[in-house]
């Protein structure tokens, strides 16, 4: 612990170590009302990890680099963030061939934050510290939001339960596909893909993240043709269908204009990209709640700061913020597809999206219990390099409340888009039927799919085309924890 200083020494002009300024309090017990963060810190060579951790607490709350007398005009004890625990990260340090890394736990008083504002909370917590010189790298691994603060956020505009009720789809994952090629199709051609995929059995189609309003297809044209396709597909199947109309644009005014047009055309869902920013996301979430709209979020850009283990913000934290901000869908990993996704890390992220209470689960990267204060549950979306032949694995890893998006796996089908959609839907329904019957569907998966393919040519063709496609690479973002020995009595 920092040497105890009396007030005169503490506030004498000059520079003190952060740990002497009150930002390191190993005896502190976090209050139920505190916001708690755990950071992974990699100090510069020779920097004391405790001092580095105290600096994080200081710079993300009240401190600056030197002592200021104006602290004494405030209840500064309360406003100081307090680092109360620093643990070495398992499997790091010279023996592991890495820089030593530490988990630093920091508690923040509730009064540091404005109610219902992701922008304010993040401006404190990630605003200033990630470029701090005494650290080589810094990562925000997880956060515990106190119930009182959680309750000031709207949460998902619609939520899993109401989304299912509006769509009349129960008991199985929802199926979608992203229209491909993502750039270049005219509005008329684009709508063709939407129509074929929805008629063939998908519930949703989706604009890609960078489909906004380009020379080859302006947004109004896309929306009009897409809604023709959605309504035609609904009439052909008797089922509710939807297409995520991307309203991402340069300004809020543009986004509201696009969202209103989508609403007036009868769309059940719109989408936004993460790159529009936290405040814009919260604005759109409130708009979605007012307008009975499901709000899909494409996590465009996140890997720039979520993927590397030593620096940035873990995606489980982004998922927490987005559930608080109020989106209904979030891309959250596939485990088996083409994009980053360690099974344990993905399981932790899915729990953040879907549970009403998260229990601390270090193997899944969940550092704290988290009570969601009845914020609605958010639907995770699995997208990127998945196909019908993996259906047993997808249901096993991702469960039932998830949107499975087969873009290439639908549009790239050898017999066409409608057949591709059909193959995915039949594979899914056959797998859910088998699961509910109590079969060991993970082990028997290939068999179940082969049997289903006997009455579905498109599924047979899909299984033949993609039978050996897997994306088996080492994950970069995996939890670090010491497995606890289970005591058996």
């Amino acid at each position: 612990m920092g040497k105890q200083l009396d007030a005169a020494e503490r506030y004498r002009a000059g520079v003190l170590e952060y740990k002497q300024m009150g930002y390191w309090e190993p005896d502190y017990r976090p209050k139920d009302t505190d916001v708690i963060c755990v950071f992974r810190i990699t100090p510069q060579d020779g920097v004391d990890p405790i001092e580095a951790a105290a600096a994080i607490a200081g710079e993300s709350s009240t401190a600056t680099w030197t002592v200021v007398w104006t602290d004494r005009l405030t209840a500064c004890e309360k406003y100081r963030a307090k680092c109360y625990q620093v643990d070495p990260v398992p499997n790091t340090g010279p023996d592991a061939g890495t820089d030593p890394q530490y988990f630093a736990y920091v508690a923040y008083d509730l009064d540091l934050f404005e109610e219902g504002s992701i922008a304010n909370m993040t401006a404190s917590i990630i605003g200033n510290i990630f470029g701090f010189k005494p650290l080589k790298a810094l990562r925000l691994e997880d956060m515990r939001i106190p119930v009182g603060y959680m309750k000031t956020f709207q949460g998902p505009a619609t939520g899993i339960v109401v989304e299912r009720e509006r769509l009349d789809k129960y008991g199985r994952p929802v199926l979608g596909a992203t229209v491909k090629p993502k750039l270049g199709l005219s509005g008329r051609n684009y709508g063709r893909v939407v129509y074929e995929a929805l008629k063939g059995g998908l519930d949703f189609t989706k604009d890609d993240e960078n489909i906004n309003s380009q020379p080859f297809m302006h947004w109004r044209d896309r929306y009009l043709y897409c809604m023709e396709a959605v309504n035609r597909a609904q009439a052909m199947t008797g089922e509710v269908k939807g297409t995520y109309l991307n309203v991402t644009a340069a300004t809020m005014e543009d986004m509201y204009e696009r969202a209103e047009f989508a609403r007036d055309l009868g769309s059940v869902i719109i989408m936004i990209d993460l790159v529009i920013g936290y405040t814009a996301i919260q604005s759109m979430a409130k708009w979605a709640r007012r307008n009975d709209m499901i709000l899909h979020l494409h996590r465009a850009g996140h890997s720039t700061y979520t993927r590397q283990k030593t620096h940035g913000v873990a995606f489980r934290v982004i998922a927490k913020w987005m559930r608080m901000a109020g989106v209904d869908h979030i891309h959250a990993g596939t485990v088996v597809g083409k994009l980053e996704g360690d099974p344990n890390t993905v399981a932790g992220i899915y729990d953040v999206c879907r549970d009403t209470f998260n229990e601390k689960n270090l193997p899944h990267g969940i550092f704290f219990d988290q009570d969601w204060a009845s914020l609605k549950r958010m639907m995770p979306v699995a997208s990127g390099g998945i196909h019908a032949g993996q259906m047993h694995q997808l249901v096993h890893y991702l469960g039932e409340d998830v949107v499975l998006q087969f873009g290439g796996g639908t549009i790239g089908h050898p017999m066409g888009i409608e057949a591709g959609a059909n193959a995915n839907r039949v594979a899914l329904e056959a797998m859910i039927l088998a699961r509910n019957e109590g079969r060991d569907y993970l082990a028997e998966g290939p068999r179940i799919l082969q049997d289903a393919a006997k009455h579905c040519k498109p599924l047979e063709a899909a299984l033949d085309t993609w039978k050996d496609v897997t994306f088996d690479y080492a994950s970069t973002d995996t939890p670090d924890f010491v497995p606890l020995e289970t005591v058996t009595v």
């Binding site: 339960v161 299912r164 009720e165 009349d168 129960y170 008991g171 199985r172 059995g201 009009l224 809604m227 023709e228 309504n231 035609r232 609904q234 009439a235 052909m236 199947t237 008797g238 089922e239 509710v240 007036d264 055309l265 009868g266 009403t356 009845s374 549950r377 059909n422 839907r425 039949v426 329904e429 056959a430 859910i432 039927l433 509910n436 019957e437 109590g438 289903a452 009455h455």
Partner: protein
Amino acid sequence: MRVTQGTFSFLPDLTDEQISKQVKYILDNGWAAAVEFTDDPHPRNTYWEMWGHPMFDLRDPAGVLLEVNACRKAYPQHYIRVNAFDATNGIESLKLSFIVNRPDEEPGFNLHRTEGPGRSIIYTTHSYAAQKPAGSRYG
């Protein structure tokens, strides 16, 4: 055409044995099974007629199948579905819903377009069958 509402409409029609296994799954989860029927298959027709209340206290799949078959006997040319209600806090909604009976002929839907301002169109979906009075729509 084939109305593809419900969890298993893309599979061949379920046999009674398959239905029983799904009902067992419902009951093993502690959910209540319910039988509902309609002759208006509009995709946004939420409230099908209830064939009695959800069977909250029934724990034997055979009992549910009995109700399915009684409903089939009374309404052989209607859509009939089995719903599962989960009362768990945070869900309090359906967990499964699948069709167990459908008419021999499904004439499908007409998509009616009303041209609006600009190029916008107001779409209305009409079931061809539902143009006849309730009760005399199928067969």
